[in-house]
């Protein structure tokens, strides 16, 4: 089954997924390290463990016409959209060369040219905004689809429900993707949700929900591709729950006492990179040596990103007055 699945994909395609996931993993590890060195401050929500969710989903999108929005855990999504590690690291370092000119920081990455519209710090608040982007596509009769990512905690925000209703009555091309990493900060989602199977969340709006294993990048890719195709055809919204897991604490200060070591280990054993690597090895798409070489290249990319960020200038003090108004 697994291998059968793999066979459908070219070596180039699989290598592309691997490269993106590895880039995210190494970038986040580097970010954590730089945070320790106090080159980065404030909140820093790492994506480690969730790589397959963002990479699988966004690889299924066509960013010449589709749009991506997410919450504050946005490093991985931004990289999956093709943003440059240097511009992101520089943003984390609060430099003028950062993607948001040093004004946004970890939670507020943006690249409108790549159709990545952020990077929002208020839980659930970007869901209506993403719905509005789909509304524009609908009004202009364009063919794009919006992928709106949010966490298991955001599902209890009223704006999520208001958005689904309007997306359905107006037939908007948007896929709501709940990245259920099973915790909202220290809260197990089962403690705050009346239902534990989120696929029913769309029922009150006539939206059929789907669920997928977020540790398997190919499964995610398949399901999201299918949904994007359907949405382009029918132009009706979709809802997808991606079951995933974050290895690190919520942000840098969180000891994550609320979960067991075993739980974490169990997930590490189905690590998304490990899973894909094994498939590719079995399938003869990659050798250990080639993987090591790839990893080395990517580590270098991240080192260069740090170098770039380090030598970039801080924004001028006067820039506090820039971009308040257009």
């Amino acid at each position: 089954m697994e291998t059968a699945q793999v066979r459908q994909y070219s070596k180039e395609f699989l290598s592309g997924l691997m490269e993106k996931m590895l880039l995210i993993r190494r970038f986040e590890e580097k970010a954590a390290q730089m945070y320790g060195l106090q080159k980065i401050g404030g909140f820093c929500h790492l994506y480690i463990g969730q790589e397959a969710s963002g990479v699988g989903s966004i690889s299924a999108a066509d960013l010449s016409r589709d749009f991506i929005l997410t919450a504050y855990r946005d490093h991985g999504i931004a990289l999956a959209c093709g943003m440059k590690p240097g511009h992101l690291m520089a943003e984390l370092f609060a430099k003028a060369s950062g993607c948001s000119k040093g004004k946004g920081g970890s939670m507020h990455f943006f690249d409108s040219s790549l159709h990545f519209l952020g990077g929002n710090g208020i839980v659930g608040a970007h869901i209506p905004v993403a719905t509005g982007v789909a509304f524009k596509i609908h009004l202009k009769k364009e063919s794009g689809v919006v992928l709106c990512f949010f966490g298991d905690g955001a599902i209890h925000q009223g704006s999520f429900h208001e958005s689904l209703n309007m997306a359905q009555i107006w037939k908007l091309p948007i896929l709501y993707i709940c990245e259920n990493n099973q915790y909202g900060m220290g809260t197990d989602f089962r403690r705050v949700s009346a239902v534990t199977d989120f696929t029913v969340m769309g029922n009150s709006y006539g939206i059929k929900g789907k669920q997928t294993n977020g540790m398997d990048v190919l499964e995610v890719y398949n399901v999201v591709s299918g949904e994007i195709d359907r949405i382009r055809r029918e132009s009706t919204p979709g809802f997808l729950e991606i079951r995933t897991y974050r290895y690190k604490g919520h942000s840098m200060s969180d000891p994550a006492k609320y979960r067991t070591r075993d739980e974490l280990e169990a997930y590490r054993e189905q690590d998304p990179l490990l899973l894909l690597k094994t498939k590719m090895l079995n399938d003869g798409h990659i050798t250990e040596e080639q993987f090591e070489a790839l990893d080395a290249r990517i580590k270098k990319l991240c080192d260069d990103a740090v170098k770039f960020a380090d030598k970039s200038d801080e924004p001028a003090l006067q820039s506090i007055y820039d971009d308040v108004f257009a």
């Binding site: 929002n120 209506p128 905004v129 719905t131 509005g132 509304f135 208001e162 257009a326």
Partner: protein
Amino acid sequence: MAVITVREALRQALEEEMDRDENVILMGEEVAEYSGAYKVSVNLLDKFGPERVIDTPISEEGFTGIGIGAAIAGMRPVVEWMTINFSLQAIDQIYNNAAKLLYMSGGQLKVPIVFRGPNGPAEYLASQHSQALQSIFCHCPGLKVMAPSSAYDAKGMLKAAIRDDNPVIFLESELMYSWKGEVPDREYLIPFGEADIKRNGSDVTLISFSKPVKLLLDAAVELAKEGISAEVIDLRTLKPLDEVTIFNSVKKTNRCVIVDEAWPFASVGSHIGYLVSSNCFDFLDAPVELVSSEDVPMPYNHRLELAVQPSIKKIIDTVKRVSYRS
């Protein structure tokens, strides 16, 4: 010049801008088939169709955010809040998305959108439906705020608001919709940040905006009979504020009374009171006074609700006090 109501002036502004730019849309509760709860959008559905004049569910937070999303994607939405009271459900979208997306994204995301509806007390509507909320909007950087006091201004200002590339809060007044005034046939715009000296005077400067401007003009007539020459300034734009016009007037009259329908504490009125007091310090012959609503919720009883609000008598008494004539 044609004499039309404020309602018709607003409708013409909407129609002309929708004619001019197909990206301009109107959305809100009852705006389409019902022509708006206060009938501002009469005929717009027939002319522009349901794709550009859109009835929404009662989901203020949701459709406010959807408007913002459509705006960052290239539309120029005009979002009607049936009354500004209901914007309280959408304040997070206004503060955290509309006002901040340009800044947080390092200048990438423009938010060209207008939020409009009746603000301030009407009659017999009690506490929840009689609030003047300009202070909340003026407090937040990244928002522009306008509040016309005549049909002429209503048309020229709304057209300017729709053409602006920033989020604009456009404050109307239920009781003003039926007020009549002259409006030229040629097209005109009223720029942001230009106050209007409605009446020249030498003894005291009276400052307000929106509905109370009429109180000031009536009070000025009374005061003239008693030999007090009042200059009347209509701010029109609350933010950015036309400080030059205000200060020049006060430096001439040496006295200032501000009228604001809102509650006094941390209000636009008291803010201007502070600005005038410190910037015209050497010119003031008397303390600057604010005539605001009482610091209480609005009661339903009519005599009580009138007692709560600014009145011609309160204004005249205050002017006499600062003129040392009482």
